[in-house]
């Protein structure tokens, strides 16, 4: 019934001249881009959930190798956590600076974020290198495979984030605060904050839950 009414209406007014526009039209590009990136981040979180599920299943399959509580160092993990948390904060400061077009605070915020990210990566790399040199590499047991995949995947994301961060600084330096550069900066901030959320899951589930048992 309503179909035929709509068809009749379309025939009477094919170019919608008399129709009041109810929809405001497409959203601005900043909203569309950020929303699309948000959907990507959620799919990335779903991918991490698979690694978490694999880790939860394999955590006791040590095959005579070390348990989590024997190889985790709480002090290093605490330093890593504080680094990532502070870098999330400085990344937020850099986004505010980009929104108000303040170059100095933008560069400063991004540089501090970069340094904190690199400290995080250095500590994680040392931890991995130490484990491998003691013979506890990813091939030692199913538990270590799951551990290296989960934590290493997060580390790869942080590495990609640091490269993206440097690209954003270069783009602002070369092109200024153009609308497209600001959209990329916004996606980068979303990415960096999402990495910190995943790290909360990693240090709670892997290091704290596994370290106490």
């Amino acid at each position: 019934m309503s179909m035929t009414a709509a068809l009749g209406h379309a025939h009477a007014d094919p170019h919608h001249i008399g129709v009041v526009v109810e929809h405001p039209g497409p959203a601005p590009k900043r909203i569309v881009t950020a929303y699309g990136f948000w959907v990507f981040l959620l799919s990335d979180i779903v991918m991490f959930s698979c690694f978490f599920a694999a880790y939860a299943v394999l955590v006791d399959q040590t095959a005579g190798g070390p348990k989590g509580s024997e190889i985790f160092e709480q002090r290093n993990v605490a330093i890593e956590t504080v680094c990532l948390l502070l870098s999330s904060f400085t990344c937020g400061m850099a986004s505010i600076a980009a929104d108000v077009r303040n170059r100095f605070w933008f560069y400063l915020g991004m540089a501090v974020t970069c340094v904190l990210g690199l400290i995080f990566l250095a500590i994680e790399f040392n931890e991995f290198a130490d484990l491998v040199s003691r013979g506890y590499g990813p091939s030692r047991s199913a538990f270590l495979t799951a551990f290296f995949s989960l934590v290493g995947c997060h580390g790869l994301h942080v590495t990609a984030g640091v490269l993206w961060l440097l690209t954003m600084m270069a783009q602002v330096f070369a092109k200024g605060f153009r609308a497209d550069v600001l959209r990329r900066m916004m996606c980068f901030a979303l990415f960096w904050h999402a990495l910190d959320i995943i790290w909360v899951g990693v240090f709670s589930v892997v290091y704290l839950l596994g370290g106490g048992a």
Binding site: P28, T33, S49, L85, I197
Partner: protein, 129 residues
């Protein structure tokens, strides 16, 4: 598609964007978020190594603290709110969380039952003799 950076009232806002605030309010938001996150992190690390609380409660406390901290990050850093201009962002997040809980919860549940119902053969013989 227009390339404006200002927000229209009739659209949902972009994830990560805030409603119009001054710089001062935005910075205070991040400072509050950082303070809460540091507090929750410190509590997590303290709870994990302490003998002051009943030991079996520690894993549950750690999980609750982790979920609380993720909530703090979402609200103060990613600016996901329950406001009417955030419906799309919250719905996408809700669907993502549904998939995460299905994957993690389903895997742990199924694998625990497999371990229970399919013990190695020597245990199986012991159980049935």
């Amino acid at each position: 598609m227009s390339d404006q950076t200002h927000l229209h009232a009739e659209h949902d806002i972009a994830p990560g964007d805030e409603e119009q605030h001054g710089i001062r309010e935005r910075i205070i938001g991040y400072v509050v978020g950082l303070g809460l996150a540091l507090l929750l992190t410190a509590t997590s690390f303290f709870i994990a190594g302490t003998n002051l609380v009943w030991q079996p409660s520690i894993p549950i406390a750690l999980i609750v603290l982790a979920i609380a901290q993720m909530g703090v990050h979402l609200v103060f850093f990613l600016h996901i709110t329950t406001g009417p201009d955030n419906t799309n962002n919250v719905l996408a997040l809700a669907f993502g969380l549904l998939v995460v809980f299905l994957v993690v919860g389903g895997t742990v549940w199924i694998m625990a039952h497999l371990n229970q119902n399919m013990p190695p053969m020597d245990q199986f013989i012991k159980m049935n003799s």
